[in-house]
């Protein structure tokens, strides 16, 4: 009796959490119903508007459109992949930041690199526009010095879009991402470092043998979290930087959905169908990561 009662009590403890998860994560899935209807405001959905898998067929029925969706997926994977591949960058940045001995200078660098994180992408773009447009600062200096005759079109260039987008992202995020590592570094046992110093280790050796190994657990947690957001690499950045010249390589899944849902009157069913596609790919990715984890660590997490 008391045991049964206790388990009821314990269930009540987690009930608020379950309600939250239900309301925030599961209830919105009800919106998927729009992918199976021919919904158009102001008419509400009803039995007559049910069209089954029509919008999914619409995506795959036309080779040009299918190629478009493929291109968008490639962009998404490529840009998320690049930031994943460079995810060690903030860690290294934090390590070197920590090595700066002059404290005011260190604080200054840290503040300056953290600030961009608090600027919205729209403002970042207006900065970029003022600096890089044909009459912007960079072109004015280059033309003024006589190094080039014609202004360089930085913003409408279609080369290295993925890499340049990664640069902007890093400029904005690196300082912020480094905070976590700085905290981890301060938690490293001073005695280890002092012992290494007594043994005659150089600074590089200390970094390589002590600091980085101590940071690796933090690093893996952050990589794991980033993996979960692999497909949701946001759209604001790409939305503000997109133009008709770099569109082919900058359009990511979220942006593609946005463009379909808002151009003209907007097609809500089709954009819902495409964002469902995103969930499916995410689930596939999750199983792959889980499989890799099983192979490497011997245990999965699902």
């Amino acid at each position: 009796m008391s045991k049964k009662r206790r388990s009821y009590m314990e269930f009540l403890y987690i009930l608020p959490l379950l309600i939250l998860v239900g309301a925030i994560s599961y209830y919105p899935l009800y919106g998927w119903i729009y992918a199976f209807h021919d919904y158009m405001p102001p008419k509400p959905i009803s039995a007559e508007t049910f069209v089954g898998l029509k919008w999914f067929e619409y995506i795959v029925s036309n080779p040009v459109r299918l190629a478009d969706v493929g291109r968008v997926l490639v962009n998404t994977f490529a840009m998320s992949g690049i930031s994943l591949a460079f995810s060690w960058f903030p860690m290294i940045f934090a390590v070197f930041l920590n090595e700066i001995r002059c404290k005011p200078y260190r604080k200054f660098v840290q503040t300056v690199t953290t600030l961009p994180n608090f600027i919205s992408w729209v403002l970042v773009f207006s900065v970029a526009f003022n600096v890089l447009s044909s009459t912007g600062a960079v072109n004015s200096v280059l033309v003024g010095l006589g190094w080039i005759d014609k202004p360089i079109a930085f913003l409408s260039s279609k080369d290295n879009v993925w890499f340049r987008m990664w640069l902007w992202l890093t400029w904005k995020n690196a300082g912020w991402a480094a905070i976590m590592y700085l905290a981890a570094i301060s938690a490293i046992d001073e005695q280890m470092i002092e012992a290494a110093k007594v043994d005659g280790a150089t600074r590089m050796q200390i970094i390589w043998r002590i600091t980085i190994p101590c940071l690796l657990p933090t690093y893996f947690v952050i990589v794991m979290l980033n993996l979960a957001n692999f497909l949701s690499n946001g759209m604001e950045q790409y939305y503000v930087f997109m133009n008709n010249f770099n569109k082919k390589s900058i359009e990511v899944l979220d942006l593609y959905v946005y463009n379909i849902a808002t151009t003209g009157r907007g097609n809500y069913p089709l954009s819902t169908a495409i964002s469902m596609l995103k969930s499916i790919v995410s689930v596939v990715l999750l199983f792959i990561t889980n499989g890799v984890s099983k192979l490497v660590r011997g245990e999965g997490f699902v």
């Binding site: 133009n243 010249f245 463009n259 151009t263």
Partner: protein
């Protein structure tokens, strides 16, 4: 000190409120009207002089729900709730579905008694008959109807034509322009004599902006699509309406879309297009226009960002320069109204209904229309011998302070936020015998008879743009008809969005990145192939079907 003042002011206001409500006692109480408004650029309760005007007159206040401000999704949410608003100002294309969904009220009982609105009975009858198929059944009131005729052109300028700076044009020797090639050569010379503005910032003949692409029911970059009207071709959705009133696919090489794209590309190859064209937005482009960094304009309203009275007097203003092989498409007066509708929300009943109709009828009265189009007597205009004369005509532009008796505040801040009228500004005001719009007043014409205007008349032998076009048979006037295009279904919406995005992407690349004619042709072929692959032909067939009834009606109205 300030605090005491503000307390005193508040007290004074309260007292005056008490006295007003004492007078209004026994009359109507304050009524707040929700206006669902696709035209408004302001969201919230109307404030300032217009608010005071209607409060004193009807004891009402307007709560504007502006879809352009809060986002289009407000339309979906409010219609899900079953109540769009008390007064509806909506895009014409949406109105039939609003009526069908039961969101608009049948106003057949009250509308015939509104004598000011019913001055436009012909137009209202035609629209509602088309909507319901029945006589004497009313749901909607068209907006900006004119009292002229479906085929007349009252304006002396048309919506789009090539306009150059008069001083620069004179400086290069006022060449006669026969074709686009001549225009290009002239622009090259203009760029040579005017490489920068006075501050030394680079100036270009063309500075384009991509953020209007796909607007106004037309696919493709708005800048390119607009210029096709110089050759009498008007895009209807995705189908090009040719001067002979037949449709033709947009991308045919014989059509003006190709001609204009190629023209802009050649201009770009010669360095006559602002390199920021593909990446800047309208605000950037507009700032360049007002600082003299642009040498060509093509919208009739665009010159408002440069042509001031001073510049008109100095001869440095923009003016239409004829190119002889062009034939200009122009819409005749919008006799049957513009692209929006007035309606009443389905939930409006009883006394509220009466008061809303009373307000709307005043809105269409000469008094209402004068406030809407001309502003306040003693601020925007003065009356001399029964005619209006412009007074402070920068009141709207510079947000001049309004005298306290009219409610104070800035003129622009307090201006009518509904931003849509029943009576067009080109209607004749029965109180003055002149049109409402200032530019038709004799007093205004006398004030703006400048040297530049006289010179233009001397060179081209005509009083104004439209008379030149009429005299030289360069004008294709498209009669006004009552027509609402069928609303796209979801398939067409998706297809249109995709085609539009592909077309824009290719066109901008054609203009800005092709450095040789061969490259241009190759890319054009690739564009046609990709558009066809996406299903352009289906969209084209669909649009031809949708717009054919309008073409037939236009033909009938023109007596073709």
């Amino acid at each position: 000190m300030k605090k005491i003042l503000s307390v005193l002011l508040t007290l004074a206001m309260l007292l005056s409120l008490v006295s007003v409500s004492a007078v209004a006692e026994g009359e109507k109480e304050l009524l707040t009207i929700d206006v669902y408004d696709d035209a408004a650029n302001y969201n919230g309760i109307q404030s300032g002089w217009f608010a005071k005007l209607i409060k004193d007159k009807f004891n009402i206040e307007l709560n504007i729900i502006a879809s352009q401000v809060v986002g289009n999704t407000i339309y979906a949410t409010r219609s899900e709730e079953g109540n769009l608003g008390d007064i509806l100002v909506v895009d014409k294309a949406k109105f039939p579905e609003i009526v069908e969904a039961g969101l608009a009220k049948d106003i057949s009982d009250k509308l015939p008694a509104c004598e000011n609105i019913m001055k436009f009975k012909t137009q209202i009858d035609v629209y509602n008959k088309g909507l319901t198929g029945e006589d004497g059944k009313y749901y909607g009131i068209p907006t900006e109807m004119t009292d002229t005729s479906p085929t007349s052109i009252t304006d002396d300028v048309i919506y789009s034509s090539p306009m150059l700076r008069w001083d620069l044009y004179k400086q290069i020797g006022s060449p006669k322009l026969e074709t686009l090639d001549d225009l290009l050569a002239a622009l090259e010379k203009i760029h040579e004599v005017h490489p920068t503005n006075e501050e030394g910032d680079p100036a270009y003949p063309f500075s384009l902006w991509p953020d209007w692409d796909g607007n106004d029911n037309m696919i493709g970059p708005a800048n390119v699509v607009q210029l096709t009207t110089w050759y009498g071709q008007k895009l209807k959705g995705s189908a090009m309406l040719m001067p002979d009133m037949t449709f033709s696919p947009l991308y045919e090489r014989e059509n003006a879309y190709y001609k204009i794209t190629k023209f802009l590309n050649q201009a770009n190859q010669k360095g006559l297009v602002d390199p920021d064209s593909g990446t800047q937005n309208w605000d950037n482009a507009c700032a360049k226009m007002s600082s003299g960094r642009v040498d060509v304009m093509w919208y009739s309203w665009q010159v408002g960002f440069w042509n001031s009275v001073d510049r008109l007097n100095a001869g440095t203003a923009f003016r239409f320069i004829p190119v002889n092989d062009m034939k200009f498409y122009a819409d005749a007066d919008r006799y049957f109204g513009s692209d929006r509708m007035f309606g009443i929300g389905a939930g409006v009943e009883g006394e509220k209904y009466d008061r809303i109709m009373e307000f709307l009828d005043w809105y269409a009265s000469p008094e209402g229309a004068t406030f809407e189009h001309d502003g306040i007597e003693g601020l925007n205009y003065v009356v001399e011998n029964g005619k209006f004369k412009p007074y402070k005509d920068n009141a709207l532009m510079d947000n001049l302070p309004v005298p306290d008796e009219f409610g104070g505040g800035g003129f622009s801040d307090g201006n009518n936020a509904i931003n849509q009228w029943i009576v067009s500004a080109i209607c004749v005001n029965p109180n003055t015998g002149e049109r409402y719009a200032q530019k038709y007043w004799q007093s205004y014409k006398d004030m703006t008879m400048t040297e530049m205007k006289k010179e233009w008349t001397e060179v081209f032998g005509a009083e104004d743009d439209v008379s030149w076009m009429k005299a030289n048979d360069k004008l294709l006037a498209s009669p006004s008809v009552d027509f609402t295009p069928a609303a796209d279904n979801n398939d067409i919406i998706a297809l249109r969005a995709e085609i539009n995005s592909k077309l824009c992407e290719y066109t901008w690349n054609l203009i800005m990145t092709c450095s040789t004619d061969e490259e241009f042709e190759t890319m054009w072929d690739a564009m046609v192939a990709e558009l066809d692959g996406l299903g352009y032909k289906d969209l084209y067939e669909y649009d031809c079907g949708v717009w054919q009834p309008e073409v037939d009606a236009k033909k009938a109205a023109a007596g073709m």
